[in-house]
Symmetry: C2
């Protein structure tokens, strides 16, 4: 199979864009040339000749020479517009914008079918780990049971600094920001939204279901205090922010949640900006994928692999979408459920801040001065519907 | 994309074959039926009705209803014959016989081209880890630098028991045999042949080169004694049997070797029968794949994934074979080299048992009673050509 020559138009020339340019110019197997790079600020000094750049998106989107649009910008609304127009104009697209992709999964799927163009986004999920490709190509729907993993590099970096180096939350966060692992506005990461976006993408490629981000419960690490940290330490455990989805019969449950993990879990060994994903499949066998999950280079390597795949005509087949209907006995598709009981540590200030009636069972109750916590079992649906989980004195950690 | 219905003929009904049967009968997405199972011993009691079984291989090989032959037997000569005849008769084939595959890589490649049938063998390399598929589909030749890993579950099990539980070699080996991780004749594993066979398969899918097993230097763990083990312990390290291949310019070097590893290496954390493979690619990013590497179930899960892939018409494209020529500047293909210097610990009894003249440099020399060792740098070509490495008092461990 011969590879196609590709002509690229790139949106954005930050770290990923620049790294991509360098690697492409060093590589002679990959027949790829960059024709134009669309940037926002024409006056910024650039490492390339001005003729490479434009500030007019249409110079790329409507250039018939350009086969592939690589979208690497920060603005999600603009990104979706670029991706959509590029596909409507028959161009293949590579993107790593997880929020944008998770928020428009169904439209993006339809655009691919309608305009018969590939849209690849390995860089949007666990950066360098080829998890989408493995779910898409290797793990059959019926053979796949669950995915569980650390899918956000910046929060894992923060948690590592807290637990391994005794740093406090804000010092760890600043350090992550300095190293470029966390955004200037870290809310998407530390509140657990970013892992939720990735979970939406994983759910589509793992189980063939379209799930809106707002239908998934997420809880972040921003309310983690010294009391919680000591609690974990006393249990000889550490805390990891974990995204989980699991199929049971015709239903799939999914959530993002900080969890106590100890030496028994492979995720304990995932430090700093690394991501780790455990895929459990038939014969109850677990595969573990590890790689860097934040930073421009790991994302760049995934974008590059997508470009390389396009040169062979690769596209996601989304086979699971059909399978999720065909393989069910009653012929109805898999669906998301919130009907699962979670065992959690819930810390609160006083009884008015929590509704213990939401719990199926309270196993432990602790009180000391201003701090109280329970360890109990609560249905995910109640957790998701409750208002009290948003209280500033509430923190939740999954325990098992 | 709709999946094809497949009719299977299976050779061998041991653990993998039986597990496969069970999973296939539980799965309704995969439209696969087993028509016939060829066994050696007709008198053994079986869990299925006799009509499923035959002792005549031609009942499968010449049955026009059978699309896919699954070869799961222990006899390599018979296995090659079965695989070859099946492909000549237009049947797709799945196999996990690493020695047979590594020994016939080029013929098996040619058979696929000539008869236009797919031949898949994910189970032959690191059992449950989808490493062949990832190399084949995800890692472009030009972007791939090296592969390094623990690819043999039984020796890793033995080394874990020695280092973590202070067992001696023979106790650890017996335990591995009892658990079914090591063969009754463990020579292939403990002498490092099995990882070499896997390395041959990896070299083809990673770099597009055909390498005969006899061209790769392998050293096993069978001569590991207490002195060596203490040496590793004093260095706060453990010993792992590691297969390595790395591309430098137009050349690739490859070898199998026990190596000292410490906490800095991700391979330190791979215990018992697990395998771990580190793939280093463009942007110097490392991906780490972990999964069970021995036992019938992990192999069965890989065989099952191959069968599932066949239902979608998947086949290995062997793209790297072309690339290894096309992408080189001087237009010649990548080639295997032995021209690389290795830093090793070499333990011996007396000076006549080793030729220290083979070393480029000796950094350390130690002598105490009957035991001597050097730490030095030696070219792989000299190691491979030397007779002294086969001496019973010689042990080698890579150090870095």
């Amino acid at each position: 199979m011969r590879r196609k020559n590709l002509t690229l138009g790139i949106f954005g020339f930050g770290c990923v864009g620049q790294g991509l340019y360098e690697v492409l110019s060093r590589t002679n197997g990959l027949k790829v040339s960059i024709k134009k790079i669309c940037i926002k600020d024409a006056n910024k000094e650039r490492s390339l000749a001005p003729l490479f750049f434009t500030t007019n998106k249409n110079d790329i989107l409507y250039d018939p020479d350009i086969d592939v649009v690589v979208e690497l910008i920060n603005d999600d609304t603009a990104a979706f517009d670029i991706v959509k127009t590029a596909m409507q104009n028959g161009k293949a697209v590579v993107s790593a914008s997880k929020k944008m992709i998770a928020g428009h999964l169904y439209e993006l799927y339809e655009l691919q079918q309608q305009y018969k163009v590939p849209f690849l986004y390995e860089g949007a999920c666990c950066a360098s780990i080829p998890i989408i490709r493995n779910l898409e190509e290797y793990y059959d729907n019926d053979l796949l049971h669950s995915i569980e993993g650390i899918v956000n590099g910046s929060t894992n970096y923060i948690l590592t600094k807290i637990f391994d180096e005794n740093k406090n939350f804000s010092a760890a966060l600043s350090e992550a920001q300095e190293l470029g692992f966390a955004e200037t506005d870290p809310a998407m990461d530390i509140e657990g939204h970013d892992p939720k976006f990735k979970l939406c993408i994983l759910l589509l490629h793992a189980f063939g279901i379209f799930v809106k981000p707002e239908h998934i419960f997420n809880f972040g690490i921003e309310r983690l205090n010294d009391f919680d940290i000591n609690y974990a330490r006393e249990k000889h455990a550490t805390i990891k922010l974990i995204a989980t989805c699991r199929k049971i019969g015709d239903e799939v449950y999914a959530y993002v949640f900080p969890q106590l993990v100890n030496g028994d879990s492979q995720l304990t060994g995932i430090h700093n900006e690394y991501n780790g994903v455990i895929v459990e499949s038939a014969f109850s066998d677990k595969q573990f994928f590890v790689g860097k999950g934040a930073g421009s280079t790991p994302t760049g390597s995934a974008v590059l692999s997508d470009i390389s795949a396009l040169s062979y005509g690769y596209r996601y087949e989304y086979r699971k979408i059909g399978q999720s209907i065909l393989s069910r006995e009653e012929n109805h598709p898999l669906r998301l459920t919130q009907h699962v009981a979670l065992k959690v540590y819930a810390r609160y200030g006083n009884e008015t801040e929590i509704d213990l009636g939401d719990f199926d069972e309270v196993h432990e109750k602790y009180e000391s001065g201003e701090t109280r916590f329970v360890v109990g079992t609560i249905p995910l649906e109640k957790l998701k519907a409750s208002a009290w989980v948003n209280g500033k004195n509430i923190n939740l950690i999954g325990v098992s």
